[in-house]
């Protein structure tokens, strides 16, 4: 059964002020209703005024998504009554959106895939509601308008996605694109919200609302696919409805209340003037985007397509990689270290690349490259630094950490008898006569075993090459 998915994505634009007033958007750690003014409180007589930067950001998005910008666009009022709407209507765009007919290429289930973008438009975020008296039996509602008026863009795709995984990939690519543009901060709580339309070929379409995370999209859609398939298998008909995703339980639930076909009574917002921004859109410059950066990493640094894709899939990581010294960037080992080790360790800790001091990790990479620490020790240092950040938000300098843990590489002197590597090798030989004997009969594994013993004794600080050389020398009776 073919799965058909279309997405409507709301992203907060990362401007300094709200869409229609000068209130700061930096409200997340502040008390309720402390970032409000007559405009975003909907006080009688106040008037909206469009934030130029928000339009510029939205145009960047439109351009990055290969959209057409119509000659004229305008704002409309979407009328509905809800306490999170300070004016009793939301200022949005309706029949004249900012941009239409775009696309975004993603890695699909069956190779490269073009996902069509229906439209991109701007609108204001409503306020935030807190239900008092428990979710099951709310007594009343508390309202905070700090979020009211934050600029949003809504991006609507055609129903081109064919699996929950593709939907997730699309979102990841979209996020990367928005972050490359510098218009969106995915780390901010609630900065992204997704509604998904999903149907199985030949069945009715179901809308899933209230998805607020990247992982949530795949989870919600996977749940829906299973639910719908099971229902069809049991001979039930899928009804056209709106369902809500309950993130905590990973399920979607029917909105039950028979949602009357809403009549939003859109009409042009009489307090605002239309936009004519096609020329502006043409002039606007957008930075290098994930696809071209990926190609550059392949061409200039000789990275594999897989590594290049991983390293450019997140703007911050791509910037980090680009900032490394030239000789490091062209090394597969560096790419592996960043793409697999660093990202793997971050992922393991559920940490983000943001909020970690990337300069430290650059230095660690340089130290590792210089041979002052071994690969194994570098990983240990990385883990220690990440744990420190997770605990306290900050960490030592890499060299401090290496020193504290005693992880600087131990060098074996050429012929000396006193260096720690040689000492450890002697010990290992003395403790393992059987292995020594096996080595004598030509068993190569015996040498590997002894190398392991020496590494253990030196806590991984000996360079594997040194250990090999010293052991071979000792065992072949050069002394």
């Amino acid at each position: 059964m073919t799965v058909i998915v279309g997405l409507e994505i709301h992203c907060q634009l990362d401007t300094a002020t709200k869409l229609f007033c000068g209130c700061s958007t930096d409200y997340r750690d502040d008390p309720p209703n402390s970032h409000v003014c007559p405009v975003c409180l909907g006080l009688p007589g106040s008037l909206p005024k469009v934030n130029k930067k928000a339009v510029e950001y939205a145009l960047k998005v439109a351009k990055a998504l290969n959209c057409e910008v119509p000659e004229e666009s305008e704002f409309s009022r979407k009328n509905y009554f809800y306490p999170d709407l300070d004016k009793g209507y939301q200022i949005t765009q309706y029949d004249k959106p900012l941009a239409v007919c775009g696309y975004l290429d993603i890695e699909g289930d069956e190779g490269e895939k073009r996902v069509r973008i229906t439209r991109v438009h701007m609108e204001e975020d409503p306020g935030r509601l807190v239900h008092k008296g428990g979710a099951d039996r709310p007594k009343y509602t508390l309202v905070d308008y700090n979020r009211a008026g934050i600029p949003l863009i809504e991006i609507v795709t055609e129903p081109d996605l064919r699996s929950p995984k593709e939907a997730r990939r699309f979102l990841n690519k979209l996020r990367a694109t928005l972050e490359y543009l510098g218009v969106f901060d995915s780390e901010k709580e609630g900065s992204l919200r997704v509604d998904a339309n999903i149907s199985l070929a030949g069945s009715e379409r179901v809308e899933v609302k209230n998805i607020t995370s990247y992982k949530g999209v795949e989870k919600a859609l996977t749940f829906e696919v299973t639910r719908q398939k099971n229902a069809i298998r049991r001979g039930q008909k899928i009804v056209r409805e709106t369902r809500h995703f309950v993130e905590a339980r990973g399920v979607t639930t029917s909105s039950r209340s028979k949602e009357m076909e809403q009549d939003y009574r859109y009409f042009p917002e009489p307090d605002l003037r239309p936009l004519r921004v096609r020329d502006w859109a043409e002039e606007i410059e957008i930075p290098e985007l994930p696809d071209s950066r990926k190609q550059r990493f392949i061409d200039d640094y000789g990275l594999s397509p897989t590594h290049a894709a991983t390293l450019t899939g997140d703007w911050q990581i791509a910037e980090f990689y680009d900032s490394l010294p030239a000789d490091l960037k062209v090394s597969t080992a560096t790419a592996t270290w960043v793409a697999d080790t660093l990202l793997g360790e971050l992922n393991y800790r559920d940490m983000s690349i943001r909020g970690v001091p990337l300069d430290h990790f650059k230095e660690l990479l340089i130290i590792r490259q210089s041979g002052d620490i071994t690969e194994k020790a570098a990983v240990e240092v990385l883990r220690s630094l990440l744990d420190q950040i997770r605990e306290s938000g900050t960490c030592e300098l890499p060299r401090q950490c290496i020193g504290r843990l005693g992880l600087f590489a131990i060098a074996a002197t050429e012929e000396g008898a006193d260096d720690p590597v040689t000492a450890a090798a002697r010990e290992a030989i003395a403790e393992n006569p059987q292995a020594v004997a096996d080595f004598g009969t030509g068993k190569k594994e015996a040498l590997n075993f002894l190398v392991g013993q020496v590494m253990r004794k030196t806590r991984g600080c000996a360079k594997p090459g040194d250990v090999n050389r010293v052991l071979t020398r000792l065992l072949s009776g050069d002394e």
């Binding site: 007559p38 006080l43 009688p44 007589g45 008037l47 004016k87 009793g88 009574r265 009409f267």
Partner: protein, 434 residues
């Protein structure tokens, strides 16, 4: 000069004010210590502002409308908030949720509306200057009925920031006074660009009224003397136009076919916008609170039923209907097309004439309760709404009386030519023949 005030204890026998400020702060400037009355749909920081509606009882704005800021900067004393039809929805001020205002010329009659309180306050001599607002005639109608001067400026010439919206695309704040010169003075103070209002235009108003009218071409649309216009009113207005002609103006009769549907276009547009504008009065952020023991929609519906008067509810419902799916095309969209045609009519006429003139109102002031059904009340706005639909300036200046009741001469001008309508009104006011 902090602490300067003027005392204001008027004999408000016509109930023009909803509230007065007994010791009103004032300052220096062109209007130093001049008492000014402000219609109650214009926000005044620290002074209750209700739009004469129960739903805003107790609401004290934390900010001043731009026009109020400008008044204060000019030294004026805001001495009170004047009565009006609730949210500006009416032609008589009878729709105030609090009390009706009487016409100082004849207290058995309405002062007109919706800026009836401002007109009565000026006509009764309680203040020399007042601010009104005009969505479909709400400055000009009471000016005509009370025998004073009122100007509806070009749309965009005076900031709407702080004006509690009834129909955003139509309304303007404007000056009301006993003389054209005073209207001109108040206009100079309140007009000008306001970056907070996206529909505000950068076109300041600095003008000395000029009574010279020779060579001015005055168009007189036949439709302004059509069915429903009291012949006695028509006669007084024709006399006024003749006076202007004798003073050297050229009078040209003309036609304005879009008048056939201008009123319908106006009422569809203003009720549509109002249905949306008035949705914010939910009792959450201001105004009498909604009952939080009830579920949202029930509480909200009740709040609105109790808080809005009948005419307001009627207009909200009409507008809701006009915008609703299935009817948008028949009503709202058609009204916008009609509105464009009205604009086009004005543009065409203004290629041949400099101003248009006619009566402000089809009749003199009504008796209280005379217009009991809404449609006949709406019909009395027929002569004032075209200027709002087109966004052009229009002034009403007293031009005579019918059985002791004032009649207003309306002069409409080209977009942004407020100065010219003021001049024509001034020329008439100066009287005599050249």
């Amino acid at each position: 000069m902090p602490g300067r005030t003027i005392s204001f204890h008027p004999d408000d026998r016509y109930a023009a004010f909803l509230r007065t400020i007994p010791e009103a702060p004032c300052g220096d400037g062109r209007l130093a210590a001049v008492p000014v009355a402000v219609k109650d749909n214009i926000s005044t920081a620290g002074i209750e502002t209700t739009c004469a509606s129960r739903i805003l009882e107790g609401y004290v704005p934390p900010y001043d409308a731009t026009v109020v800021e400008r008044l204060k900067k000019a030294g004026a004393a805001i001495v009170g908030k004047t009565n009006m039809d609730e949210f500006g929805m009416g032609t008589t001020t009878e729709n105030s949720a609090f009390w009706p205002t009487k016409n100082p010329v004849d207290p058995s009659r309405v002062p007109g509306g919706s800026s009836g309180g401002s007109a009565a306050a000026v006509a009764a001599g309680l203040v020399p200057l007042a601010l009104g607002t005009d969505t479909g005639g709400s400055i000009r109608c009471p000016a005509a009925f009370c025998g004073i001067v009122g100007l509806k400026p070009t749309y965009g010439r005076v900031s709407r920031y702080g004006l509690i919206a009834y129909a955003n695309s139509l309304e303007q704040i404007g000056p009301m006074a006993r003389t054209v010169a005073d209207v001109n003075l108040l206009m100079e103070v309140i007009a000008g660009h306001d970056p907070r209002d996206s529909t505000s235009r950068d076109c300041p108003y600095h003008h000395a009224p000029d009574p010279e009218i020779r060579g001015v071409r005055i168009g007189v649309p036949e439709e302004f003397f059509g069915e429903g216009v009291d012949p006695r009113v028509a006669s007084v207005v024709w006399d006024a136009i003749s006076l202007l002609e004798r003073k050297g103006a050229e009078v040209i009769t003309c036609r304005m076919p879009s008048m056939a549907y201008a009123l319908a276009a106006y009422y569809v547009t203003c009720t549509s916008e109002a249905s949306s504008n008035l949705a914010r009065f939910d009792g959450v952020r201001y105004g009498p609170p909604a009952d939080t023991k009830k579920p949202w929609h029930e509480a909200f519906q009740e709040r609105r039923r109790e808080g809005f008067g009948e005419e307001v509810r009627r207009r909200i419902m009409l507008g809701t209907f006009a915008l609703s799916s299935g009817y948008y095309g028949k009503y709202y969209a058609k009204a916008q097309a009609a509105r464009n045609n009205v604009r086009a009519d004005f543009e065409r006429l203004f290629r041949e004439v400099d101003v248009l003139a006619g009566p402000t109102m089809p009749t003199v002031a009504f008796r209280f309760g005379e217009k009991s059904d809404p449609l006949s009340m709406y019909l009395s706005d027929i002569l004032t709404v075209p200027a709002n639909l087109a966004g052009v300036p229009a002034i009403s200046v007293p031009c005579g009386k019918v059985e002791g009741l004032p009649v207003g001469l309306q002069v409409m001008g080209r977009w942004m030519e407020d100065e010219r309508v003021v001049d024509v009104a001034y020329a008439f006011e100066q009287g005599g023949s050249a």
